[in-house]
């Protein structure tokens, strides 16, 4: 699947922040903004909704907790019961540390894997980068193009808002 993008290159994050606001006000949908470092207020400017990752995290935690309890209760209580320290086979206070650790383990691994999958940051042979300078000192605004987009108008809009250059780029597998 091939996608075409108009890339507005910016030099300064303040200019970028206002440009993003203005471009969105002008009714243009921004695909993504690539910056070398996180910019305060960018999420609001882009109108990104709050992540639903915490909800996923909660369920990963619940899965981890259930797994931990099952593991300990089944192995120590049913599969191979042993008397340890004169405690009952299923001694819940002794299970708490392991349950806690496995809950955290499942939770954080689940979150990291989910996050990387959703934002397509998983390892690949060839990493698609729209403009390598966005990893150095430039700020890149990517706007997806289709047949109806007026490229000239878009270029003017980005230029008027402080873009130092506007490029067009095609990307496969993005």
């Amino acid at each position: 699947m091939t996608k075409r993008f108009a890339l507005g290159i910016f030099e300064d994050e303040d200019v970028l922040l206002h440009a993003v606001e203005n471009v969105r006000e002008a009714g243009v949908k921004i695909y993504e903004v690539f910056t070398p470092f996180p910019i305060h207020g960018m999420d609001d400017a882009l109108g990104i909704e709050r992540s639903r990752l915490p909800i996923a995290a909660f369920f990963y935690g619940v899965i981890g907790l259930s797994f931990a309890l099952w593991l300990q209760i089944y192995t120590l209580g049913f599969d191979w019961p042993m008397i340890i320290g004169g405690k009952p086979h299923i001694a819940l206070p002794a299970f708490i540390p392991v349950s806690f650790e496995l809950t955290v383990f499942f939770c954080c691994h689940g979150m990291v894997i989910t996050f990387y999958t959703i934002s397509k940051l998983y390892p690949r042979w060839k990493t698609p980068v729209l403009d390598v300078r966005s990893t150095d000192d430039k700020f890149v605004v990517a706007i997806e193009l289709n047949e109806k987009t007026d490229l000239n108008h878009l270029t003017q809009l980005l230029r008027a808002n402080g873009a130092s250059e506007v490029n067009e780029k095609e990307m496969t597998k993005f």
Partner: protein, 416 residues
């Protein structure tokens, strides 16, 4: 502004007087009832004060330890914010300063109540005469072994020094803050950082030792290395809850208009986190003792779990429920930490819960099976009333916003 504040102060004072009356009545009625009961019990070989008096003295001690500790947290919280160069908390700084208004009277009461407790040795078993002397009828080899630490002179000396330190630094930070309001400039801010850093070091040591002294030495034979942290965690989370509650009440009364959901969110995160921290410390203490099951250690939990006909058992689980499960589940979502009503419910629950936490630390060893609640609630209300009286008075004494604090602007624009 000051006039409106004075109006609110009067209103609060009115409320407090009502509180005091309720507290006083309860407490007299209960005391009378228990005086009669105590007289009936005297034949059973009970030593020390009559039960009602013993209950009164022990509950005075219990409440004073709780309130003085919570009060000191105001200064500790502020000191930590200074040392961390934190900007967000500037708007609630005056609430912290007001919270620590109880340190001085609480400290004086601490010494007074300790001395009252000495008369019949109601609070501390190790103060019994002859308990450290070999050959005496009261001799207890275990306690005698601790005589280097638990002797009256050293104990009282420590108590006075610790309270002196807390009171001095509370006053120092308050004075610097007020001087900053008048004169401005960053010089006070830098001075506050140095003062705070020194205070935190001293507080780390003194809070831990005071926890052993004031609470752990009631169970003289028993010891736990987690105890200093445990008591501190309890004080700390209640102190933050008190700060949050006061901030919300002030905001709802129309003050602190700059305090936004972001500030409350941060306070909520603090409460959420430190409720878990308290549980972590509590569990670290409990699990090791439960697992090793050494008689000299397990006796502490034997008394609280099923001991004395099991009358502390419900409190034991209630303690975990209200101080861990409840804040944990309620404050888990982001929205709950930003809503005043949710925070109000949780702060009140935490404050009540940690009051009961101290109840559970102190009562089983002193009152054994003769514990009760009505006198204790009465005393708690009297303490709460006086505490609020001093706190609101101090709130009214200065502008609620530290005018010339260098981070004020950051705090006003704080978002999370």
């Amino acid at each position: 502004m000051m006039i409106i504040l004075a109006g609110v102060l009067l209103l609060v004072v009115g409320l407090i007087v009502a509180y005091l009356n309720i507290g006083g009545e309860h407490h007299e009625g209960a005391a009378a009832a228990h005086g009669a009961a105590g007289a009936g019990h005297e034949g059973t070989g009970h030593h020390g004060s009559p039960l009602w008096l013993k209950r009164l003295i022990v509950s005075l001690w219990h409440n004073n330890v709780f309130f003085t500790g919570v009060s000191t947290i105001g200064t500790v919280f502020m000191a930590i914010q200074y040392v961390a160069y934190a900007g967000w908390s500037v708007l609630i700084k005056r609430v912290n300063e007001a919270l620590s208004a109880w340190v001085v009277p609480g400290g004086i009461l601490m010494v007074v109540i300790f001395c009252i407790g000495l008369i019949n040795h109601d609070i501390f078993h190790w103060t019994m005469p002859g308990i450290m002397d070999k050959g005496n009828a009261n001799y207890d080899a275990l306690i005698a072994g601790k005589s280097g630490f638990l002797n009256l002179g050293f104990y009282l000396g420590r108590m006075i020094v610790f309270i002196g330190i807390w009171a001095y630094f509370t006053k120092k930070l308050r004075d610097l803050s007020l001087a900053e309001d008048l004169n401005g400039g960053t010089e006070y801010f830098h001075k506050c950082i140095n003062v705070s850093a020194l205070f935190l070091v001293l507080y780390a040591v003194s809070s831990s030792i005071s926890a052993w002294d004031w609470v752990m030495s009631i169970d003289t034979h028993w010891f736990s290395t987690m105890f200093g942290w445990y008591v501190f965690a309890s004080w700390w989370v209640s102190g933050i809850a008190a700060t949050t509650l006061c901030t919300i009440l002030l905001k709802q009364a129309g003050y602190l208009r700059w305090v936004q959901a972001g500030h409350l969110h941060d306070l909520g995160k603090f409460m959420f986190g430190f409720s878990i921290f308290w549980t972590y410390v509590w569990f670290s203490q409990f699990m090791l003792i439960w697992y090793a099951n050494l008689p000299e250690e397990a006796v502490y939990f034997n008394q609280r779990l099923g001991g004395f006909n099991g009358q502390y058992t419900w409190l034991f689980f209630f303690n975990l429920l209200i101080n861990f499960v409840f804040p944990f589940l309620v404050l888990m979502t982001r929205d709950a930490k930003r809503q005043m009503i949710m925070l109000k419910i949780v702060t009140i629950a935490i404050l009540i819960g940690h009051w009961f936490d101290f109840y559970l630390m102190i009562m089983p060893a002193t009152m054994q099976e003769n514990n009760g609640f009505i006198i204790e609630f009465g005393v708690a209300l009297v303490f709460l009333g006086s505490f609020l009286l001093l706190m609101t008075k101090r709130l009214a004494q200065a502008s609620l916003v530290p005018l010339h604090h260098p981070f004020l602007d950051e705090s006003v624009h704080h978002t999370t």
